[in-house]
Amino acid sequence: MGKYSIKLNGKKHLVDVASDTPLLWVIRDEIGMTGTKFGCGMGLCGACTILLNGKPIRSCSTPISTIKPEDKLVSIEGISSNTSHPVQLAWIQEQVPQCGYCQSGQILAVASLLESNPNPTDADIDTALAGNICRCGTYQEMRKAIHSAAKSMQVNPKTKSK
């Protein structure tokens, strides 16, 4: 066991866990935020996706010991305080989720994509989301929502996530 300091959604957390504990379980069981999901435990499905300094990572296969105290971690709970992130709004607009279990991961992967690539092509979307499975098959609605979120972020760049 060891004490680790991590910064999640702008807030510092001190946790006392084994060094190989995946971030996923630190966030869910220790910090108590359950929007980040367990899907496969091997980084194959993307349900556990969070952002590490703006880039998507698979929290189920990222040990806490690899995280520095100054690293910025963002989970679905931290993407906006009132469900106002343009990707969330587009997801609602297009009624993307079915069961919804994979969507936290999908939304974070998309938020990161749009930060670095404000106007992604379909091929860019395919690449960015290749690691995120949706068993319900909401892929086509996601694609629509991504294009519409991209548009709204260009019109109103202030709504971009921090």
Binding site: V17, T34, M42, I92, Q98, Y101, L129
Partner: protein, 727 residues
């Protein structure tokens, strides 16, 4: 799930529902005491207080309306569609009410989401519930105002007096309304006056699914609970010979190492569980277990052997479905111009919902409470009460959102496992299966073999058609119904005369049972997912043998079934079928009725190298009254994706008792970049509502393979197949 629930709803069911609805209302006005014995840190619902007008409607004095949804939501949209049926008649907007999933208690009747039956069986009963409560509220207002009922109307949670600016909120009326008699035959709205049904209203739970607040079973936290990770046998049916848990128990956070059992309907297997104060500690502890398995008998189980038995059985005539029998196929075959024969094989498949199996259970003296993603809380109450030797009233189920299910979460082995552990330690236990548990332990969609034979006369008209199904029986294994010399009634789904009205003068369907110990269960669209691959591929083979266009061939055979004709014609139009055919494009079609809805797909492929690529999928669905057209399209998309995955990705194989696949690397599902464009059309009509969650799936594989045949000349008769290398 009772067999009645699982059976497709038919027009007959639609008519008899009104009588049932009256019975619900007769239950009366018990006030609801909804306190739980446990303080819940993280669960969707706080106790609900108010006047229970009937089990489904609760109104408190401030006017807050709570509607109970007795069909768990696994992504198919029942947390909107079912309460909407009440809300439409009750004259409340869905965004004004709170929606709560029912808890399994008897007063809600059947609560199973399955067989695409939710809307089709609830359409009239739930509307009747809403209409009756509305009439009582109006009556209460009329009494207070001393005016006739005809001078009042309800709108958005209030009763108004016509032509006057007086109104009373439902909260002000509920106490007096609750004392009135329940109308036995309330007047239902004219569909033309619907303000919610038939509109693509945004689903109320969607925001919670984009901000992480929706609570799935995986997210439940009960104070004092321990997390359990279970070491299941590598060979599914093995027993624990002995185990050493010292290293595990010494691991940080681990509290208990316990032998447990996995109780399936047809067998119990043994396992060893590690319980810890966090899930990861439990998982790490499990890796430190040393278990010796008794598995000699379990190792005799092989999918290869099973399929060999199916091919052997396919040579016999099987037990015939008497109701589907027409004329004499043998005579038709012997006098035909052409006779075709072909066998089609479909594999075992895992459900692989994104949320692995999990359950939190607290067994206490004389009671048990469950927090879990389950498809049917009522059937879980029955099963758990029997398992623990409790009365049904001592069992309470809190249904969470289901992170996908596809049939799997109506099989409660994972809940019973948590109960078995909680009982041993007298504390709440949350069992979380790994993805490997999910993929490897089953139950699976059974692999089946369709043996087809058909004959044509000199004009290319079908004279005889025989479909012999061979394989395992869910009814027999899961429900222990002995079949004797009868075919499995469920296994004819999608090809019985009602579902498949092809005008064959001579016709015979039969079934040969090949039992297996491999755990099996319904998987989205159940046997229709197996049957239609053979049936609709073989229809195509007959069309080509008759030198007729496959669409025209079907139209001719279905000319007496106007809804099928309308769907096919619409599909032809939507897909520009004739033009594409004229240009030499490879567009394959298939049509099927399952779960009381008709769905047809046209799939356009292009040859690429030794295989094909899928360019576009066109679909038309006729599900009768459409509750939320946008959601219906979403369900069809979902079925196309799952159907394509089943056709071209991985199968489940069992070798010496052990499942060979384990996670998404070797049991792959389609990803974003692999999804073809889709265009879906929903027929709008006033036919009785049919299912939506499953009917889109059965025609996917045959439409694809029919297109593959056009592009490559190769006929795919075994799923899954490698789309990049068609041979």
């Amino acid at each position: 799930m009772s067999s009645l629930d699982m059976k497709q709803s038919s027009r007959r069911d639609f008519i008899k529902i009104s009588a049932q609805a009256a019975a619900f209302l007769a239950i009366g006005f018990d006030s609801l005491a909804n306190g739980t014995g446990v303080k819940v840190k993280k669960m969707p619902h706080e106790p609900h207080i108010g006047v229970e007008i009937n089990p489904y409607v609760l109104i408190n004095e401030s006017g807050k309306v709570t509607l109970f949804n007795a069909r768990p939501d696994m992504g198919q949209g029942t947390s909107q569609s079912i309460p909407m049926l009440i809300a439409e008649e009750l004259e409340v907007r869905l965004d004004q009410v709170e929606i709560v999933t029912s808890d399994g208690s008897d007063k809600f009747g059947s609560q199973m989401s399955g067989g695409s039956s939710s809307v089709s069986t609830r359409y009239l009963p739930m509307r009747t519930v809403g209409a009756a409560v509305k009439e009582m509220l109006i009556q209460a207002a009329a009494n207070q105002w001393k005016v006739p009922v005809s001078a009042c109307y309800a709108k958005e949670g209030r009763v108004y007096q016509k032509n006057k600016s007086i109104s009373l909120g439902y909260g002000e009326l509920v106490a007096s309304a609750a004392k009135l008699p329940v109308p036995k035959n309330p007047t239902l709205k004219n569909p033309a006056d619907f303000t919610q049904i038939g509109k693509s209203i945004p689903r109320p739970e969607v925001p919670s699914k984009v901000n992480g607040t929706a609570i799935f079973g995986m997210d439940v936290v009960i104070p004092g609970m321990l997390y359990a990770s279970v070491a299941h046998a590598p060979s599914i049916h093995a027993k624990v010979k002995s185990y050493q848990g010292e290293k595990a128990i010494a691991s940080p956070g681990v509290k208990f190492v316990l032998k447990t059992e996995r109780k399936m309907p047809h067998a119990s297997t043994e396992a060893v569980a590690v319980l810890a104060d966090s899930y990861y500690s439990a998982l790490k502890g499990k890796r430190l277990l040393d278990i010796q398995w008794e598995s000699a008998e379990a190792e005799t189980m092989n999918t290869d052997k099973y399929f060999n038995q199916l091919h052997e059985a396919g040579k016999s005539s099987g037990f015939e479905y008497k109701e589907s029998l027409k004329g004499d196929v043998e005579q038709a075959f012997s006098s035909a111009k052409q006779v075709l024969e072909a066998s089609y094989q479909t594999p075992f498949l895992a459900h692989a919902a994104m949320e692995p199996e999990n359950a939190t259970v607290y067994v206490q003296d004389g009671k048990v409470e469950v927090w879990a993603p389950v498809q049917g809380p009522d059937s879980l109450v029955t099963e758990l009460a029997a398992y623990l030797g409790l009365k049904k009233e001592q069992v309470k189920i809190n249904v969470t959102f289901l992170g996908g299910a596809f049939g799997r979460k109506a099989y409660y082995d994972y809940v019973l496992e948590a109960a078995h552990l909680s009982k041993q330690i007298n504390a709440p236990v949350k069992v979380v299966w790994t993805r490997e548990d999910d993929i490897q332990q089953g139950p699976f969609r059974p692999g089946m073999l369709s043996v087809l034979k058909g004959s044509l006369d000199a004009q290319g008209i079908v004279t005889g058609f025989e479909h012999k199904m061979n394989g395992a029986s869910i009814l027999n294994q899961v429900f222990k119904v002995p079949l004797g010399n009868a075919p499995d009634p469920w296994a004819e789904e999608g090809i019985n005369l009602h579902d498949s009205p092809y005008a064959f003068p001579n016709r015979r369907n039969s079934f040969s049972l090949i039992s297996t110990q491999i755990p099996i269960l319904w998987w989205r669209s159940v046997y229709a997912s197996n049957n239609l691959f053979g049936q609709e591929s073989f229809i195509d083979e007959l069309a080509h043998a008759a030198k007729k266009d496959p669409l025209e061939f079907r139209l001719e055979l279905l000319k007496d079934s106007p809804r099928f004709v309308a769907v096919l014609k619409k599909l032809g139009e939507l897909s520009h079928y004739q033009q594409l055919k004229a240009q030499g494009k490879s567009i394959g079609i298939a049509i099927a009725r399952s779960f009381s809805s008709i769905c047809a797909h046209a799939i356009l492929v292009e040859k690429q190298g030794a295989g094909v690529t899928i360019k576009k999928v066109y679909s038309v669905i006729d599900c009768g009254v459409a509750i939320n057209p946008r959601n219906i399209k979403a369900q069809v998309q979902s079925n196309i994706t799952m159907g394509l995955t089943a056709a071209i990705k991985n199968e489940i194989t069992v070798v010496n008792g052990q499942t060979q696949q384990s996670n998404f690397h070797d049991y792959a599902v389609l990803r974003q970049g692999e999804i073809p464009e889709m265009e879906i059309f929903v027929m709008m009509n006033n036919e009785a509502p049919g299912g939506v969650g499953e009917p889109g799936l059965p025609p996917v594989a045959p439409a694809l393979c029919n297109a593959v045949f056009l592009a490559t000349g190769k006929r795919v008769r075994k799923l899954p197949f490698d789309i990049s290398q068609v041979s």
